[in-house]
């Protein structure tokens, strides 16, 4: 069945607002029809979020398309935040790497200027964790979003109860320009039902990043209903729990294609609807200690020298919360004391949203981190690692997303702490 459009939507599709608007609507209509959508629904969130934050010189087609939109007056109807910036001079890099950065991201200033014309909230709106209070782009439960950043989409759907499909970059901007998105998938009640039951049967609290990876690799784009995890992380959505879910969700979305998960007794829809959220004939996947170990052992390490000493460590992909910055600081300072060290053994970067960093930098812990030699930055570690000269370095991380897209080597939080505190080389 073809899409039924409102008069205004049809007017746009027919070219009544110009060719660029018509192509925007045509793209949205084709996209919706591919998934059986028969109508568009209004985007109801106060703010949007774009996944494309980088001015990569080789992505010229994207910036050309943005120019077409701006020239046609096809800008976002909502102010929006954007993923993190790719460059920060405070993050360690050598002369050659810096030269490469300049060449790689030569379009950055131009693209930042385009974002201003298209509707970015402010210069501080660059982060993948726009949903944190300090950033201020927190959707309400039930809001319809036009977002694309995979870690933000899965968080907004699962933890906040907003409704958003796993849109692609550019498509999310089109939704914000048109003010509507096709109604299908995770926007619908049916599409939010779980087709997998995950039974967590571990002997200890699972590592968020490994659990997320394990779930993502199994269920791919499906919706899992996770049982047994509340025994380890509780039934209250406090900051610790939200941080765990942020990291777990990012791993489900990058190691698989999960856009929504439900956690028994914890996430809003699971609390309200309980097992009514589970679709008929849902498959079951049991995750125990052995399964987590199997998955973690399967991560390839593509360093040329597998035993190389790490030259850099990134913590904060997705960006850390204020709570996580404090927690990591306390754990690191304690670990350094045990080793009799004043400074980290591996150059280390903690990344967080500009608004989060503003809050954290006013605290004593920030001074402690500085003294320990840790850099705090708003950078996107993934964009840093995309520099081939950085990618050749032995970089370690606790992020399964960063591991998936770059040469960074994954370690659990405890293993990372051992390495940056000098306990283990």
């Amino acid at each position: 069945m073809a899409m039924q459009l409102t008069a205004e939507q049809q007017h746009m599709l027919d070219g009544g607002k110009g060719e660029a608007f018509a192509k925007v609507m045509k793209t949205l209509v084709m996209y919706g029809e591919t998934f059986g959508a028969t109508e568009m629904v209004p985007v109801t969130s106060a703010k949007g979020h774009l996944v494309t934050s980088f001015g990569l010189s080789v992505m010229k087609p994207v910036y050309g398309l943005m120019d077409q939109l701006i020239e046609a007056g096809a800008i976002s109807q909502q102010p929006f935040s954007v993923d993190p910036k790719p460059l920060d001079k405070n993050v360690p890099s050598n002369l050659l790497q810096n030269i490469f950065f300049k060449v790689m991201y030569s379009k950055q200033d131009d693209y930042d200027a385009q974002l201003k014309k298209l509707g970015i909230i402010s210069d501080k709106s660059y982060t993948c964790t726009c949903y944190m209070d300090e950033v201020g782009n927190v959707p309400n439960k039930g809001d319809v979003l036009s977002w694309a950043e995979s870690s933000a989409v899965v968080y907004a759907n699962s933890v906040l109860g907003a409704r958003c499909n796993r849109n692609s970059g550019i498509l999310e901007l089109f939704g914000s320009i048109a003010g509507c998105v096709p109604y299908f998938g995770l926007l619908t009640d049916e599409g939010r039902k779980a087709t997998w039951i995950i039974e967590v049967k571990t002997s200890k609290k699972p590592e968020a990043q490994v659990l997320g990876s394990t779930i993502g690799m199994k269920v791919m784009e499906d919706v899992p209903y996770i049982k047994g995890l509340d025994a380890w992380i509780g039934t209250e959505l406090n900051q610790d729990t939200r941080d765990f879910l942020k990291d777990m969700g990012a791993a489900t979305a990058s190691n698989g294609a999960v856009g929504l998960y439900h956690i028994e007794n914890l996430t809003p829809e699971a609390v309200e609807q309980k097992e009514a959220l589970i679709a008929e004939n849902a498959q079951v996947y049991v995750i125990d200690d052995a399964e987590l170990a199997r998955v973690q052992a399967s991560y390839p390490c593509i360093w040329k020298d597998q035993s190389a000493a790490p030259k850099l460590c990134f913590i904060g992909c997705p960006h850390l919360s204020v709570n996580q910055l404090h927690s990591w600081t306390q754990r690191l300072i304690d670990a350094l004391k045990k080793q009799g060290r004043q400074k980290v053994a591996v150059p280390t970067v903690f990344t967080a949203a500009p608004g989060v960093l503003e809050v954290f930098e006013k605290t004593d812990d920030y001074q402690k981190l500085k003294k320990a030699g840790v850099v705090v930055s708003y950078i996107c570690p993934l964009m840093y690692m995309n520099n081939p000269l950085c990618g050749k370095m032995p970089v370690i991380t606790n992020s399964n997303k960063l591991r998936t897209y770059t040469s960074a080597r994954y370690y659990t939080d405890a293993e990372i702490l051992q390495r940056i505190s000098g306990e283990v080389r």
Binding site: Y31, N165, N255
Partner: protein
């Protein structure tokens, strides 16, 4: 010779050499290096995809279950098409996912590139087709593997 009936997502006919990924195709990880460093063969840079890693993707009939990973995926397909580094066609054994759909539609609406796309070809399709075989897409979504 085997034939499989799928659903046309982006119309078009093409004959090309198959390149088969049995696992989810991570679009960003696969095209990242090609887009960044001007590799016109679009050599796959996804270290986690043993089927495709280090193999050229441009001009191939890319056979896959679905795409996974970063939601820049659609934009990556769009850029690959705009820069003439796109596969000859995309053939999905499963229903197409939202990121890949966005990518092939963006390429269709906003570029001159042709990247016919057929989905829902079934698991049998991915079992039958092997890298190096010849794949032909007809107008109606009929895919011939030989």
């Amino acid at each position: 010779m085997k034939q499989f009936q799928g659903r046309v997502v982006v119309p078009g006919t093409v004959k090309a050499e198959a390149l088969v990924s049995h696992g989810g195709f991570n679009t960003l990880a696969s095209f990242q290096k090609s887009l960044m460093f001007g590799d016109k063969d679009a050599t796959c840079s996804d270290q986690n995809n043993a089927d495709l890693y280090n193999k050229p993707m441009h001009g191939k009939a890319l056979c896959l279950p679905q795409t996974i990973g970063s939601t820049t995926g659609g934009m990556v397909f769009y850029c690959a098409a705009a820069l003439s580094r796109e596969p000859a066609c995309l053939l999905f054994s499963k229903p197409i996912d939202s990121l890949a759909a966005a990518g092939v539609i963006l390429a269709d609406v906003w570029t001159d590139a042709s990247m016919p796309t057929v989905d829902s070809l079934g698991d049998d399709f991915l079992e039958a087709v092997k890298t190096g075989m010849t794949v032909t897409i007809g107008e109606d979504g009929l895919v011939t593997v030989e």
